[in-house]
């Protein structure tokens, strides 16, 4: 069992919340302020959000949630290399929650279905755009945990080990989730 994201930052942490730099002797170019983290990892997290959620507005909300959550832990990763995986774990966890909430809202008629024809994609044909919309509509019928694992693997192209770490579960669980998601999508989209 891998650690959950909240347990991860065993490394650094200094005053992300205040947006200030850590003392020079501690940082030596290794720690990240909120501004820097935003600049460096914001684009990646927005893209990840769009791919997981299929909606730009939700992706931007996700980005805010990630940084608010990160700031509340009142620490800053000393090791910049560890910052992105940690933020990704937070993002995946929050996206998973958003998807579950979205499904409940749809169930009770509290939310309009998302227009997946508007999913931003660069350099795609009309057929490809239609295919993307079909894929996301099919993914809406799949449980959130399966959807997230499948998208991390095939939309993000992450190795299974990274997907497992991001999802906070074992490799075997990740494989099973991806396979189940694939079977469900094949049923909807055809093999």
């Amino acid at each position: 069992m891998t650690a959950r994201y909240a347990e991860v930052p065993s490394v650094v942490f200094m005053e992300l919340e205040d947006g200030g730099r850590a003392p020079d002797e501690r940082t030596a170019g290794q720690s990240a302020t909120l501004d820097e983290a935003f600049r460096e990892h914001g684009p990646y997290l927005v893209k990840l959000g769009v791919r997981l959620l299929g909606d730009v507005q939700d992706a931007e909300d996700l980005l805010q949630d990630v940084f608010v959550r990160a700031a509340r832990t009142r620490s800053a990763l000393r090791d910049r290399e560890a910052l992105r995986p940690w933020l990704r774990r937070i993002a995946v966890r929050l996206a998973w929650r958003k998807l579950r909430r979205r499904r409940l809202q749809r169930l009770f008629g509290a939310r309009e279905p998302i227009d997946y024809g508007q999913v931003p994609a660069e350099g795609v044909t009309a057929d490809e755009r239609a295919l993307i919309a079909d894929i996301y509509r099919a993914l809406d019928t799949v449980p959130a945990a399966l959807r997230v694992a499948w998208l991390l693997r095939y939309a993000e192209g992450e190795p299974l080990e990274v997907v497992a770490e991001a999802c906070g579960c074992s490799l075997a669980t990740v494989k099973r989730r991806i396979r189940e998601a694939q079977v469900a999508l094949d049923r909807r989209l055809g093999p």
Partner: protein
């Protein structure tokens, strides 16, 4: 590592194309939103801490009041270690009240429960308002004096050379030197008086010889008629008659609005005409307690200082004078009170 089941190539390629632009403007906008949310959550957290702190303090204060304020249902007091009643009036479990009348008054509680009360006046002067009960023994001791009560209002004063019991309502039995004396309302027992000179019921010798008989003659008269008698007696220079009429007034017309004035007039008659200084001081105390007028309370306290001083109770006079200075700093009587209370150098 590879998957046994993979999506079609065109699906993967379409998904890889999903992306969005995120420029510096977007970053600044979202960064500002994050800052706003963090500020808001900080404020909410601070408010939550304040509310939680206030709630905790309220709960602790309430618990403290519960623990300290609950009267014991059944309390037997160790006579040596038990703290004493002093300084302010105190209600007993049976509804009776003990009111210290002099600074430094000390009342020790030996037994204090619904079925039995035994108090000791260690020093000073106190008033006891005892709720009537035929079954519960209520006992107050002051040195060699022991007072048994059924239901009454009386005062006990303890001095270095003896003690004094004055009864305002009802009847008490005073045990002193192996004798039991019955003291009724309006009567005073003073242990400092020689036993031979004391009346059979322990009445102060300065009282009229047959106060009960005289009181019986006055009984049934209206308050107005009694006031008239007081005026006539004082005009004719018969202070003893005025005293009896006034005692009947305060005894039989307790709810009369002029009761405080009657007590005050009684104090003046006792002080100025009869030379009964201690009695006079007690009357002024009662006048103060019954008074709703600040002016009368001021006069009564000033005269009480004078009565205590003339009775040779210099400590009490001084304490009362200090109290007068505190309570009536603008009074025209201030100089005379200070002089009588021994506050002047």
């Amino acid at each position: 590592m590879s998957d046994s089941l993979e999506p079609r190539r065109e699906i993967q390629s379409a998904l890889h194309a999903v992306s969005t632009r995120f420029d510096a403007h977007d970053a600044a906008r979202l960064r500002a939103k994050v800052e706003q949310r963090l500020d808001r959550s900080r404020r909410v957290r601070q408010r939550g801490l304040l509310v939680t702190g206030a709630a905790c303090m309220t709960i602790f204060a309430w618990l403290g009041a519960q623990v300290n304020g609950t009267p014991p249902r059944h309390r037997v007091v160790n006579p040596v270690t038990e703290p004493t009643i002093a300084a302010e009036a105190r209600a007993l479990p049976d509804g009776s009240r003990v009111i210290p009348l002099l600074p430094g008054t000390e009342v020790r509680s030996h037994v204090e429960r619904a079925g039995e009360v035994h108090l000791e006046l260690v020093r000073g002067h106190a008033r006891f308002e005892v709720r009537p009960s035929t079954t519960r023994p209520f006992q107050v001791s002051a040195g060699r004096i022991t007072v048994q009560v059924v239901g009454t209002v009386f005062e006990v004063r303890r001095d270095t050379d003896g003690g004094r019991v004055s009864v305002e309502e009802g009847v008490v039995v005073v045990d002193h030197e192996g004798r039991s004396l019955r003291v009724s309302a309006g009567e005073v027992f003073d242990s400092r008086e020689p036993a031979a000179e004391r009346s059979p019921v322990g009445i102060d010798e300065r009282q009229p010889p047959h106060p009960e008989r005289e009181h019986a003659e006055q009984r049934g008269r209206s308050a107005d008629a009694l006031w008239q008698s007081v005026d006539v007696a004082r005009r004719e220079g018969k202070p003893r008659e005025a005293e009896m009429a006034l005692r009947t007034l305060v005894r039989d017309h307790r709810k009369d609005p002029r009761r405080a004035m009657a007590e005050f007039t009684l104090g003046r008659v006792l002080l100025d005409d009869l030379g009964q200084y201690v009695e006079a001081a007690d009357a002024f105390v009662r006048a103060r307690r019954a008074s709703t007028s600040k002016a009368l309370a001021e006069d009564a306290l000033a005269r009480e200082v004078e009565a205590r001083a003339r009775a040779g109770q210099s400590m009490e006079a001084r304490a009362l004078a200090e109290r007068f200075v505190r309570e009536f700093p603008q009074s025209s009587r201030l100089a005379s009170v200070r002089a009588r209370g021994g506050l002047e150098p």
